[in-house]
């Protein structure tokens, strides 16, 4: 439904604000999209919001409080200075400050209460017709299950993101029985979203296929390019990283989990060592936290005398150290069994490195013909490829030259531009009116819900009230469909109210003339809201003996908005 006010684009940054662990790709996406979309659309038209108390409210970063160097260092320990933590650092800083003042030894307190700050009573929040873009860890947040209701009741227009369907397609690589939970999540996403951003064509195909299988609505999808997050350089480089990079090494950047397939690299290295190449093998460096289901693999690596000392695992690598490792790597590998995108391949290419990867999932979309692809299940094939590149460094150089010549790093501005274009596209169509079905959406004291309709039972009182939905300021027309039987002797009263029924915006009585046809427009009400209301009600009061059935109500912007008065036009069907 068209509205008088200009739509605002909101970016849900709940994930970033609450994030306090090492950054993951999704946090980077949320943060980068927020930053670049605000640049593209302007901070007035593109705002940040968080989920709080079962609603979205504007997120305003708390003003930087003067902090001691000691406190800064403490925050640095929790959240390194990185763009990924721009939103969360001030929050943690406040928590630590409060802890410092409240948890004195005398008070013996071991916890403090810090709430997400908002900008007070006048805070803004998404209104009918606004877009809400949500690209965070939405499956871990309860707000996703509210999207459909918020879209229906408050008219919010959700644009969400599908990163991959790995928990559904490959639940064996995930913790616990996630397939069912994520299947339900994607269904919720589809029902609640107007459009879904997919991070690759592969993900788009997977998502569309899943929707088809489940019968869920496949929403409009667009593929967004993820920026190649080339890690920052210039920070301190630790001794271990420094020492490693003095000799050639092969780099694999990824959380250590079964799907990423570190195992095939270990087996390939085992085979190469058995071929007698131990002395010529560069170190194989795994950069990433160990995840679920790899303890036996890590134990094998630890105990295997054949590969002893050849495979190195690095945790807690800073962005600058990662940059350093990329720059000094002999080449990079990525044997994953499936990916929704494959950011490390893009990062490596953006750094001009040669890459050997599997061709599973979306990886060919990232690497195109610049990557050497190898079967992820075939340890012998990996051993052969690694041996070939190790023994022929000129081939690595050739690959690097091709990468430097042809690879065009993806920029976050492109991501923002695609999303902005999508919003423009969605905004261009005429929005449908708000449609209410009294039988489902409204309450009654003296009627009976009969499917979508509300039917008077013959008793006097409130036949219909509700639905307590929100509506922005403006002038509107409410058309009410139904049937007023000629048994009805007394008039029927309609009014439009808000503020728990205390504020009446319009009131009108209707007197029946004759038995009308089924499902005809019974009455048209015009009303003006001076400000946004969050509990709009349309009420219908009947006298005893009324034979009234309400079938449908549509509210849209009044085409006669330029008329000076908000007069009521009565159109009784049989009159």
């Amino acid at each position: 439904m068209a509205s008088h006010r200009k739509s605002i684009v909101w970016i849900n940054v709940t994930t970033s604000v609450a994030w306090s662990r090492p950054p993951v790709g999704i946090v980077r996406v949320e943060r980068a999209l927020a930053e670049h979309l605000q640049k593209a659309l302007g901070v007035e038209d593109c705002r940040l919001c968080v989920w709080q108390d079962d609603r979205f409210v504007e997120w305003v970063s708390p003003p930087p409080a003067p902090a001691s160097a000691q406190l800064e260092q403490a925050v640095d320990l929790v959240l390194p200075r990185s763009a990924s933590f721009d939103l969360a650092r001030p929050f943690v800083m406040r928590a630590l400050q409060r802890f410092a003042t409240e948890a004195t030894p005398a008070k013996k307190r071991d916890q403090v209460q810090v709430t997400i700050p908002t900008n007070g009573p006048a805070r803004l929040h998404p209104q009918r017709g606004d877009f809400v873009i949500s690209v965070g860890l939405d499956w871990d947040n309860r707000y996703t299950e509210h999207f459909h209701a918020l879209a229906q009741r408050e008219g919010l227009r959700f644009i969400t993101c599908c990163y991959d369907l790995i928990p559904v397609l490959f639940p064996q690589y995930c913790v616990g029985e996630v397939a069912q939970r994520f299947t339900e999540y994607f269904v919720q996403l589809s029902w609640g979203s107007e459009a879904v951003l997919c991070i690759s064509e592969q993900t788009r195909r997977d998502y569309t296929q899943l929707c088809h299988e489940l019968g869920a609505p496949a929403r409009k999808t667009v593929v967004i390019p993820l920026g190649d997050s080339i890690p920052a350089q210039g920070g301190n480089i630790g001794m271990q990283v420094e020492a490693l990079s003095r000799r050639p090494f092969i780099l694999f950047v990824s959380t250590i989990e079964r799907r990423k397939n570190h195992e095939v690299l270990y087996r390939a290295y085992h085979l190469l060592a058995r071929r007698g190449l131990t002395s010529t093998l560069p170190k194989l460096v795994f950069v990433g936290m160990p995840g679920w289901g790899v303890s036996e693999l890590l134990k094998d690596i630890e105990l295997d005398p054949v590969t002893s000392g050849l495979i190195v695992q690095l945790n807690h690598v800073s962005d600058s150290e990662l940059n350093h490792l990329y720059r000094h790597a002999f080449f990079c590998v990525f044997p994953s069994l499936y990916e929704g995108w494959g950011l490390p391949v893009g990062e490596a290419l953006a750094m001009g490195k040669a890459v050997v990867a599997s061709a599973e999932g979306s990886l060919p979309e990232v690497g195109g013909d610049l990557v050497r692809y190898t079967q992820p299940w075939d340890a012998y094939a990996w051993a052969d490829v690694l041996q070939d590149l190790i023994e022929n460094p000129d081939r690595v150089s050739e690959m690097e030259a091709r990468v430097r010549k042809h690879y065009r790093p993806r920029q976050w501005t492109e991501t923002a531009n695609v999303v902005a274009a999508l919003i423009q596209d969605l905004s261009s169509g005429q929005s449908p009116p708000i449609s209410l079905l009294p039988g489902y959406d409204m309450s009654t004291h003296v009627g009976v819900h009969v499917g979508p309709s509300l039917r008077a039972s013959g008793a006097a009182g409130m036949l219909a009230f509700g639905p307590h939905w929100s509506l922005s300021a403006g002038t509107y027309r409410a058309q009410i469909w139904g049937k007023l039987g000629d048994r009805t002797k007394e008039s029927v009263r309609f009014d439009i109210t808000s503020d728990r029924g205390l504020r009446t915006h319009h009131e009108e009585r209707v007197r029946p003339a004759a038995d009308g046809p089924d499902n005809a427009v019974l009455i048209t009400l015009r009303f003006t809201l001076e400000r946004e209301v969050t509990d709009l009600e349309i009420r219908c009061e009947v006298e005893a003996g009324s034979a009234l059935q309400l079938d449908r109500i549509e509210i849209d912007e009044d085409a006669k908005v330029h008329l000076a008065t908000a007069a009521t036009e009565l159109t009784i069907s049989a009159a």
């Binding site: 019968g215 039988g439 009969v450 499917g451």
Partner: protein, 396 residues
């Protein structure tokens, strides 16, 4: 004519389709001037006592005829009644001696009826076999689902022999679908008359609607009305087992009848994504509440993938005038309504679910008076008419 129906279930307060069919047959025959009474033996322990019906014998009695009577108790019950000299006379005593026609619904008691005719000293009654399915095919599918194909084949052989015997010795055969009628006609020398299943012209009270609303939570819902008959459960999971993404978060799938608890108790229920969010089992409801559920439903689903005959729930759905999403099997006997306003038929589960979503997203179906009139043929008064006419001819 004096007519007695023989069945393994009573007809008072009907719950499942077979009961509805027989009750309506009795009423239609009575309306046509015949004197009709229902007699039989309870085939299941949950039926309430009813005049003219023997209580269900203990299951141990069935072991004389089949080592494992699971899912074969209907057949074994028939054998017991026909062959056991303790039970035969008790059932025979319930049949008035001046009975002129015995209508045996389903083949189970037909062997009993043959013995009854053979042993009766006065003029023997004519035998009508009322076949609701090609029973041995249905038995094969049901038993295969639970006990494996090898065991199922042996069971199906016994049932085939039973129904072939009925077809061979009946004076008149009644089928519920054209497909069944063709199969039966090839195995009998007598006429096979087609009398499809039908629906009642229901109307719900305001209290019934209030109760239905309480069950459904005032939500838009699709209705599946079914008994716990195993094919009803199998069909449900065939169509919805992959997930119920076809339902919006504020929509429900309401199962009326004993199928609800059978579905909830099935291993696949907790593994079906989203099902527990949308599933409402009303349980077995009284006729007024069922009428109300049929009235306020937005759509009716008929996920039938097994079984022969015709599904009287299909007739009910057609008459209810809502959106219908059905399998081709569910539409057997009502093929003329495929393609009718609001009727969507799919055998592929994904297509079925898509059709459910589309139906649930449409405005409520509004039939024109002409369309309503065209659907009148699904009412019992129309569907049973061919059989009633033939019985009247027998009387002449």
């Amino acid at each position: 004519m004096k007519i007695v129906t023989l069945s393994t279930y009573p007809i008072e307060n009907p719950r499942h389709g077979g009961q509805h069919r027989l009750l309506n047959l009795v009423r239609s025959l009575q309306a046509s001037g015949h004197s009709v009474s229902a007699v039989g033996v309870m085939g299941a322990p949950h039926y309430p006592p009813s005049a003219g019906f023997l209580p269900r014998p203990p299951t141990t009695e069935f072991n004389h005829y089949i080592p494992n009577p699971l899912l074969m108790d209907d057949w074994a019950l028939g054998e017991l009644m026909a062959l056991d000299d303790r039970y035969f006379p008790r059932l025979a005593a319930l049949i008035p001696p001046d009975t002129e026609v015995l209508h045996i619904e389903q083949p189970w008691l037909f062997r009993f009826a043959r013995r009854y005719v053979a042993e009766r000293r006065t003029r023997p009654p004519l035998l009508i076999y009322g076949g609701q399915n090609v029973e041995h095919e249905l038995k094969l599918r049901i038993v295969t689902n639970y006990l494996g194909e090898e065991h199922a084949k042996a069971c199906a052989e016994l049932v085939l022999e039973c129904e072939t015997d009925a077809l061979r010795h009946a004076d008149l055969v009644c089928a519920v679908s054209q497909e069944d009628a063709v199969w039966m006609q090839a195995r009998t020398k007598t006429d096979v008359v087609l009398a499809a299943n039908g629906a009642n012209d229901r109307s719900a009270s305001l209290d019934g609607i209030r109760l239905a609303n309480k069950i459904t939570g005032h939500r838009r819902f699709a209705l599946y009305s079914a008994s716990a008959h195993p094919p009803n459960v199998v069909g449900f999971f065939d169509m919805f087992g992959r997930g119920v993404g076809c339902f919006a978060p504020n929509q429900s799938l309401v199962v009326a009848g004993s199928a609800g608890s059978a579905i909830q108790g099935n291993d696949r229920f907790p593994k079906t994504p989203g099902l527990d969010r949308h599933f409402i089992a009303s349980g077995e409801v009284d006729d007024d509440c069922l009428s109300a559920l049929l009235q306020v439903a937005h759509a009716i689903v008929l996920p039938i993938t097994q079984g022969g005959g015709t599904n009287l729930k299909t007739a009910e759905a057609i008459w209810a005038g809502h959106h219908i999403v059905a399998t081709p099997l569910a539409m057997r006997g009502y093929e003329q309504f495929i393609g009718s306003l609001g009727v969507s038929v799919h055998s592929e589960p994904a297509e079925f679910r898509l059709a459910v979503r589309e139906a649930m997203g449409q405005p409520a179906l509004a039939l024109t008076p002409d369309e309503r009139e065209r659907r009148r043929v699904v009412l019992w008064e129309s569907t049973l008419m061919p059989l009633i006419k033939r019985v009247n001819e027998l009387a002449d």
